[in-house]
Structure formats: structure tokens, C-alpha cells
Point group: C2
Chain length 229, copies 2
DNA sequence: ACCTGAACACCGTTCAAGT
DNA sequence: ACCTGAACACCGTTCAAGT
């Protein structure tokens, strides 16, 4: 008799009494699910199930799904690598930092998509602004254009990450033109046609070279327009 | 007797025998709903209800929701205004064209969001590529950088539209920093703090001047990097 | 060929009720 | 104060059955 009932009792107590909910483990669990199944696989109900509870329980810690998104994003941004304070020129450090941000977004399925539609709240987003403002300032951009410049860099890199994530997710690959290229008429669209025939579209997804080029474009552009008030 | 039954028959026949479904009216109806209620208000079930049928009926004309998105986007792009072939410089025409694209995205709630996550298919997207390639070519950008340049311009403008739509939708307004600015510590984030105190963030949402500046940044940057192979 | 109702497997969010 | 089950009002998609 004393051998039978303990089994059940132990099986209940052994899982550590439900692991105590908190914002922190909710966000961690959610990021785990995002990593594994992407944004479409993420739901409050799945997070709740993973935490062995019901979706309603999460509302003690979260106002709604949007708040979870916002918290997830800021948490993920913690792993953007700070540039070493070394003696490399500011432009190299700036690009490296932005590429690190790009990688953080790109490596977790769906995070870039989330970053495009969510306004990041919290310390890690602020720290990114601080770092980027510092680097542009070091590059000689004056105060009047600093904020616009940082916003532009962040927005564009976020957009690249979202676009590339999209290609990866859908298997599509040649830019925003999509499969329309297949049914291309030389008379209607001579320029697109010529460039397509010339293979100019095929390598559009070549992430790294293109990203480097694009960052140089923006940085040079900002430098050229930084005091045009 | 002959007076009673007709009523019911007429009431069925008067609604024009169900208006005959087609891809076209499905897309139009969907764009109407998007216009009115935004992306979150759009669903296949709502489109179906508006067309006085069930959601399952739409699957004769659409593979899935994603295809509807794609069709909606291309349809909407039809109203991007072509630049007049006049004698204005290419840069002005390019900027005007991109601003027209921005407005098309911005004016319909949720369309920008849709454009960020959907690869446009169809003739209108191709026509935009054709126009933009032509304008950059006229500006002297060489073939090696044309495709990257157009992709960059389109991606950035799409991203601006999505960001600004987001601000409008949420009432938020100061860039990607969000409400974190309220709890700002001068020691941890001196640069952000100083610029915030100086009011540099408050006008970040000033759409038009900022957009013009950003387009000049990219165009100048492309010109500066257009033959760096 | 086109349309439909019903079903399936999901959602976010609320709320009364429990501890 | 925290957690829960059940309910509400939704989703996209499939499929057998009708015309």
C-alpha cells in the first residue's frame, strides 16, 4: 500500500512545483519557440503550454501579445556585439556593429519580421542608439542629422534582415520582383529583361557583399548630406 | 396564392444571382476591407462574408491567404504615379516617383506592412522596376549597381512606409526608441539623453522633410559607390 | 466547374471561480 | 496575489456533398 501511492505523489512534486511564472521565463520560453518554429509558430497558448499552464495565466505578467513581442525584441538585442574600442576607424566599427545587429535579427526566424512591426522598448534598444550616435558623431556628423542618420541605418538594416528572412522562409530569392520574372516580356520591360538576361538579378541575394555596399551607400550619403540645413 | 410565393422568389433573384465570384472582385473587396479596417481586420472569412458566400468558396480562385496578399499588393501598386517625361532632372523625377509609391503604401492602412512581408508578383511591380532602372540609368549609374540600387530604394521606402504606418496606428511617434525615452538615465546614455533634452527626437516623425533627406542620402550614396567593383 | 456547410485545429482575451 | 477552466468571438484550410 505504502508502495503504490507515493509514485503518483512523487510524479507531481518532482516537476518543481510548476517552476513559478515570471516575465523572464515567459520571454525566454517565447524566444525559444520563435527560434524553433518562427513567428507563425509562436502564440500565447503555445508559450503557456510550454510552461505547463494556461494562456490566461500569462496575463498577470503581460498586457497582451504586443507587449510580449516588445520584450522579446529587446531581450534579443542584448546579444548584439559591442564594437571593440580598438583603433580601427569609426566606419569599420559602425559597419561591424550594424552587421552584428543584422545577424542577431537574421539568425532567429521571425525576429526581423517582429522588429519591423514592433517598437522596441527597454534598455538594449537604447544602448544601440547610444552606440550608433557615438559612432556617427565620431565620424563627424553634426547633431542636426545624427538622429535621422541613426534611425535610417537601423531601419534599413532591419528591413534587409526582414527581406532576407523572407527569402529564406519562402525559398524565393531574386529580390522583390518575384516570379513575375519568368513571364517577362522584352517589349514591355526592356530594362528589366536585359538585366535579367544578363544575370544581374541572380546574385541579388548575395547577402554580405550587398549589405556592405548598402551600408557604405548610406554612410557616404549621410556624410554628403549631414549639414544641408 | 400566386401573390404569396413570388415574394420569396423575387427576394432571392433580386440580389443579382450572387454577383459571380472572380479573382478581381475578391481582390477589390479585400482592398476595400484593408482600407477600412487595416490588416488586422482583413480575413478570408470577412472577404467571403462581404461577397455573400463562405470562405471555402474563395479557394477556387486563390491558393491561400498569401496569394491574396500578393495580388492585393500588385493591384494597389497600379496607382503609383508615373513621372511625367518632362524636362525636370532625373533626380527630381526619381524622388517624386518614390514619394508617390510611399503615399500609395501609407494611405491604405496595413498595405505597407503587407508590402514588407509579401513578395509582389505581377505586372505593376515589374513596371516599377522598369521605371526605377530607367531613372537610375539616366542618372549615370552603371549596370553593375543598378539592380542593387533599385532594390535598396524600394526596400527603404517600403520600410519608411511601414514604420510611419506603425506610428500612426499606435499613436507612438519618436522613432524606434519608444517610451524607453521617458525613463532615460543621463549617466548610462549621455548622447541619447542630450539629444532628447535638446528636442532632436521630437521631430523625427516629420515625414516629408525626413523622407526627402533620406532619399538624397541614398541617391548620393549610390552615385558615390556606383562603380566600386 | 463551381459552390457550400460543416468540421478541424487553431487563435487572443476575458472573467468568474478557486487558492 | 496569483492561477485556472471555460467561454467568447474569432482564424485558415480541407473535404464530402451538392448543383
Amino acid at each position: 500500500m505504502s508502495d503504490k501511492t507515493p509514485r503518483e505523489i512523487i510524479s507531481r512534486r518532482n516537476r518543481p512545483a510548476k517552476a513559478a511564472l515570471s516575465r523572464d521565463i515567459i520571454v525566454s520560453t517565447a524566444l525559444g519557440i520563435l527560434q524553433k518554429d518562427g513567428l507563425s509558430g509562436l502564440s500565447l497558448r503555445r508559450v503557456a503550454t510550454a510552461l505547463d499552464t494556461g494562456a490566461a495565466s500569462l496575463y498577470v505578467y503581460l498586457a497582451n501579445l504586443d507587449e510580449l513581442y516588445s520584450l522579446m525584441l529587446d531581450r534579443a538585442l542584448a546579444s548584439v556585439m559591442l564594437p571593440e574600442a580598438g583603433n580601427r576607424p569609426w566606419r569599420d566599427r559602425l559597419k561591424k556593429y550594424l552587421v552584428s545587429y543584422l545577424h542577431v535579427l537574421y539568425e532567429r526566424q521571425g525576429l526581423a519580421q517582429l522588429a519591423m512591426s514592433t517598437i522596441a522598448t527597454g534598455p538594449n534598444s537604447l544602448r544601440m542608439w547610444e552606440v550608433l550616435l557615438g559612432l556617427l558623431k565620431e565620424g563627424g556628423v553634426d547633431d542636426a542629422r545624427l538622429v535621422w542618420g541613426v534611425d535610417m541605418l537601423l531601419l534599413y538594416v532591419t528591413a534587409i534582415a526582414a527581406e532576407q528572412s523572407n527569402w529564406r522562409a519562402t525559398g524565393q530569392d531574386f529580390g522583390r520582383v518575384g516570379s513575375a520574372l519568368a513571364t517577362l516580356s522584352a517589349e514591355q520591360f526592356p530594362l528589366v529583361y536585359a538585366l535579367f538576361q544578363g544575370g544581374r538579378f541572380s546574385g541579388i541575394g548575395d547577402g554580405d557583399a550587398r549589405t556592405q555596399w548598402a551600408l557604405d551607400v548610406i554612410i557616404d550619403g549621410i556624410k554628403a548630406n549631414h549639414n544641408s540645413f
